[in-house]
């Protein structure tokens, strides 16, 4: 079970046991593109499977979950809206009272529960707590903070972390990706299998990571140069993001959204790669294990641990700001200037 999932062994082991006696509602939380919805969908498949043994290949129910048309798996998506409002929530409440079409249970999957408005989340409360015995809710959100705590309290919360890069690498090998590529993809993805898989066929993965890791030696205090670097950095991310979603079958709107999301994830990965450079610079001077094993040591030791820590923190702050949709180019320019100044 859960073979299609990269990493998350602790979570899947737990869910396999849970499936025998599932709770009413589950909330999957963790960073973007780490596989939350994948795990949730797999869990739904296991729950809906008429035979609890795993026989996915020849199981009609399982095949239909995968192809996205199981009548008792009700996915509540944004479908072009900005948020999930009271109307959608009331729909869920109403549908939840109906009996399943053909299985013993029906499963509601809300892949973007974080987009529920506060009103809508409150509408769901009573239903989440005491749904009919044949209803199971699977909510997915990036953070528990995206939902009122009263929702989290009614759900069994499954925390999912980033996937260690060796597990992503192994997963990619399983998909037939060759060794060097798998390693490169795993490093670029920043623990997000979703990003790594989207980029499997991309030829510029190595360059992407190397570019970020070369940044520290190219930084300059002059704002003009920092601005040019910022432009260059944005140029690394955008084409990669659009290629990553080019294979997926989506409508134009969905594609744009997906592309924006991937670009944001890649920018975050890139900045994190940059932050690990500085973390390594501090680590090496304290004799601690490094994350990037292929960096020129002389560069790393050229910066004081204090500055390295400060720079790493500056980068993490910049990530938060970028996620808050502030002006990206300005932020990057500012960041690069700050990184260069002693």
């Amino acid at each position: 079970m859960f073979e299609g999932v990269a990493g998350h062994a602790r979570v899947t082991e737990m869910l396999i046991r849970e499936a025998r006696r599932p709770a009413n509602s589950y909330l999957f939380v963790g960073a973007s593109s780490i596989g939350k919805a994948t795990v949730a969908t797999e869990f739904a498949r296991v729950l809906l499977c008429p035979d609890s043994d795993d026989h996915a290949e020849d199981c009609r129910s399982c095949r239909r979950v995968w192809s996205g048309n199981h009548p008792d798996l009700i996915e509540v998506g944004l479908e072009g809206r900005q948020s999930l409002g009271v109307e959608q929530a009331r729909n869920i409440v109403q549908t939840a009272t109906m009996i399943p079409v053909e299985s013993e249970i029906k499963v509601f999957l809300v892949p973007e529960a974080g987009m529920l408005t506060e009103q809508a989340a409150n509408v769901l409360l009573k239903t989440l707590e005491e749904p009919t015995s044949s209803t199971i809710f699977l909510l997915v959100a990036e953070s528990e903070m995206d939902l009122p705590s009263t929702v989290g309290s009614r759900c069994r919360t499954i925390h999912m972390g980033r996937v260690p890069s060796d597990l992503i690498e192994r997963h990619l090998l399983g998909l037939g990706v060759d060794e060097t590529r798998a390693a490169a993809l795993a490093l670029v993805s920043g623990g997000r299998p979703g990003v790594a898989i989207g980029l499997i066929t991309d030829t510029e993965i190595d360059a992407f990571r190397k570019n970020w890791l070369n940044l520290p030696t190219r930084l300059s205090e002059r704002p003009g140069e920092a601005a040019m670097l910022a432009t260059e950095v944005e140029g690394w991310v955008a084409p990669l993001a659009s290629r990553a979603v080019s294979d997926v079958d989506l409508t134009k709107d969905e594609r744009q959204r997906e592309e924006r999301r991937t670009a944001a994830a890649l920018m975050e990965s890139g900045l994190e790669i940059l932050a690990t450079w500085y973390a390594d610079a501090a680590a090496i001077q304290y004799g601690a294990p490094l994350r990037n094993m292929d960096l020129p040591l002389a560069d790393l030791t050229a910066i004081s641990p204090k500055r390295a820590v400060r720079n790493s923190e500056l980068i993490l702050e910049a990530i938060a700001d970028i996620n808050a949709n502030l002006r990206r180019h300005l932020l990057l320019t500012n960041l690069f200037t700050q990184l260069a100044s002693g």
Binding site: E18, P22, T150, R156, A279
Partner: protein, 600 residues
């Protein structure tokens, strides 16, 4: 599968007595019912999972119960009680205020309020759950009814956020505040339910579950169920740790040691170990904050058992850590990790965040905040005190601290410094090498020292040592180590000659390399040894570069003055040790400005 009910639903209390940890509410309510003084509108406020809806349902039931018990509880056996438990009663209406929050909904309810109960004497009870979600207009529409409902009608408003209710609504109700349930009550409750469910439980595991539920009965039962599912009806600490992705107890001891010894390497190695084990790092940060809070309590609360709901072994763990960690460091830890926790909630990468917090925690000089400065001054102060109370010549242990830290121990109880006859040209290099080895010699070691290693022995095991290191060191370090040779032996310190200056620098910047070589060499020579790198040709290329060598060593630079090098350096060293200005400069990286004349 379909019949299965979550524990928190299965064991929803059906009498006032069964409600966990809210006796201040339930005794008052049952008295009111027994005396017949039931208010027409109640407001139940309190955090999630504390029993608001449950109590409201019991109240509704007992008001309608045909054979109400003397203590005001329902008998749960009459037709009315059974109907309410089933949710099929006409007289108890549970309204979800969140999805029925419009004026129209409330108007509908007002019509319903005027109808009589299905049984002649019955009461009608309206439970408005999530009452804070009523719109303003809906709240206003309710006001008159809420103030003066018909005789047989009672309202119960339940909410987690009472301040969101209109003042006018609040003032028309009798308010009961539900409290977070204490860990003892939760633990007892969990034990009771585990018995009924036939779970095999460990007391420590139940306490851990209760602690993680943060006062919510519902959360605690969810977690209990989750752990029981994971362990096939066995609930043990290991299961709790697995269900929550928690680190083992050892991790917290390692954290304490890393902070106390200011050992960034150990701290980062701890992070790497936890990440490799699949521990939920976010939880680890949260748990560490809790742990450090406990250590802080252990510092200042003599009656620790009374202020903390924890089993004795946890308290003991805190006390031990408190002996090692000064209170300032503990507070700083709480601050730094708390900050990291907030950033983790925003979705930052767990490992990176934790690594940064760990570096700042173990190396206060890397952070600029005032607490870090205070922590450094604190250490400095203790050092100066210990120095002035024990003159260098006859230092004996005078610490009040029950467990002196290794570095301090090295200072008070130095090994006799080796004083080999040296070739004058090599003196400086040798001094440094011996100085580097001295603190390590002074540290308590479990393995016996290999004191009588000779250069011949070193040379004879060299090929074996060299051959085995390739895999141990890994490709990167191996590339640096490849062109080395045995150079000399001082006591139990092996001096390895490195042929290229750059390789030498890199190896010195990477204490892990020396420790790997030392471990391997120790195995071959049958005793603990230290390894130091030096130029292979004996030339003094690093002599002028003293600071580099020092700052790159594993030992903390600020503990430098406590090292007791050989006789040649004794005079100079003693100046370092007793000169407070020099100490301040070393510790705080500042310069001492003499303002004694102009100041005032």
């Amino acid at each position: 599968m379909a019949e299965y009910q979550a524990l928190y639903r299965k064991y929803r209390p059906q009498t006032f007595d069964e409600v966990v940890g809210q006796s201040h509410v339930t005794t008052t309510l049952s008295r009111e019912v027994a005396d017949g003084h039931v208010a027409h509108a109640y407001l139940f406020a309190g955090p999630r999972g504390t029993g608001k809806t449950t109590t409201a349902r019991i109240l509704a039931k007992t008001l309608n119960c045909e054979n109400r018990l003397a203590d005001g509880s329902p008998d749960n056996d009459c037709d009315s009680c059974l109907a309410i438990t089933e949710g099929s009663s006409f007289d108890v209406l549970e309204l979800d205020a969140a999805s029925h929050n419009s004026v129209d909904d409330i108007r509908e309810m007002r019509v319903s309020v005027t109808t009589v109960a299905s049984t002649g004497t019955g009461r009608r009870v309206f439970i408005l759950d999530e009452a804070h979600m009523l719109s303003k207009a809906a709240g206003n529409a309710l006001l008159k009814t809420l103030e003066e409902p018909p005789e047989h009608v009672h309202f119960v408003l339940a909410t987690t956020e009472p301040y969101k209710l209109l003042d006018t609504v609040r003032s028309r109700t009798q308010r009961f505040d539900f409290h977070s349930v204490s860990i003892e009550s939760l633990t007892a409750h969990l034990a009771r339910i585990s018995d009924i469910e036939g779970y095999k439980t460990e007391p420590a595991a139940l306490i851990a579950v209760a602690r993680h539920a943060t006062g919510s009965v519902r959360d605690s039962l969810s977690l209990l169920e989750q752990v029981a599912a994971l362990g096939d009806s066995t609930v043990d600490l290991n299961g709790v740790n697995r269900a929550l992705g928690l680190a083992d107890q050892e991790a917290y001891s390692a954290l304490t040691a890393a902070i106390a010894d200011q050992d960034a390497q150990a701290g980062l190695e701890l992070v790497a170990r936890l990440a490799g084990e699949g521990v939920d790092l976010r939880r680890f940060v949260a748990e560490s904050v809790g742990f450090l809070r406990g250590v802080f309590l252990a510092h200042y609360a003599p009656n620790l058992a009374e202020v903390a709901d924890e089993p004795e072994e946890v308290l003991e763990h805190w006390r031990k850590a408190a002996v090692r960690l000064p209170a300032g460091d503990v507070l700083r830890g709480v601050d730094l990790l708390g900050e990291a926790l907030i950033k983790l909630r925003e979705g930052r990468e767990e490992r990176l965040m934790l690594e940064l917090a760990m570096i700042k925690l173990t190396r206060p000089e890397t952070s600029t905040d005032a607490e870090a400065m205070l922590s450094r001054m604190d250490r400095l102060e203790r050092k100066i005190n210990s120095l002035s109370s024990a003159p260098l010549a006859d230092r004996k242990p005078t610490f009040t601290d029950p467990a002196p830290q290794p570095a301090e121990r090295a200072a008070v109880d130095p090994e006799p410094a080796p004083s080999p006859a040296l070739d004058p040209t090599d003196t400086e290099v040798e001094d440094q090498l011996v100085a580097a080895a001295a603190p390590l010699v002074g540290e308590p070691e479990s393995a016996p020292k290999a004191n009588d290693v000779t250069i011949d022995m070193f040379r004879s095991v060299w090929p074996q040592l060299f051959g085995g290191l390739r895999d141990l060191l890994g490709a990167r370090r191996w590339a640096l180590f490849r062109e080395t040779e045995p150079l000399d032996v001082r006591g139990s310190t092996l001096i390895v000659g490195v042929r290229h200056g750059f390789h030498l620098k890199s190896l010195e910047a990477d204490p892990a390399a020396a420790s790997i070589v030392a471990t391997r060499a120790g195995d071959l020579l049958g005793g603990a040894v230290e390894v130091v790198f030096a130029p292979a040709d004996g030339s003094v290329t690093i002599a002028g570069d003293e600071n580099d060598v020092r700052s790159n060593r594993r030992e903390d630079p600020e503990q430098e003055p406590e090292r007791v090098p050989d006789q040649n350096q004794m005079d100079e060293a003693s100046d370092d040790l007793t000169d407070p200005f020099k100490l301040i400069e070393d510790e705080l990286g500042g310069t001492v400005v003499d303002e004694s004349d102009g100041g005032g």
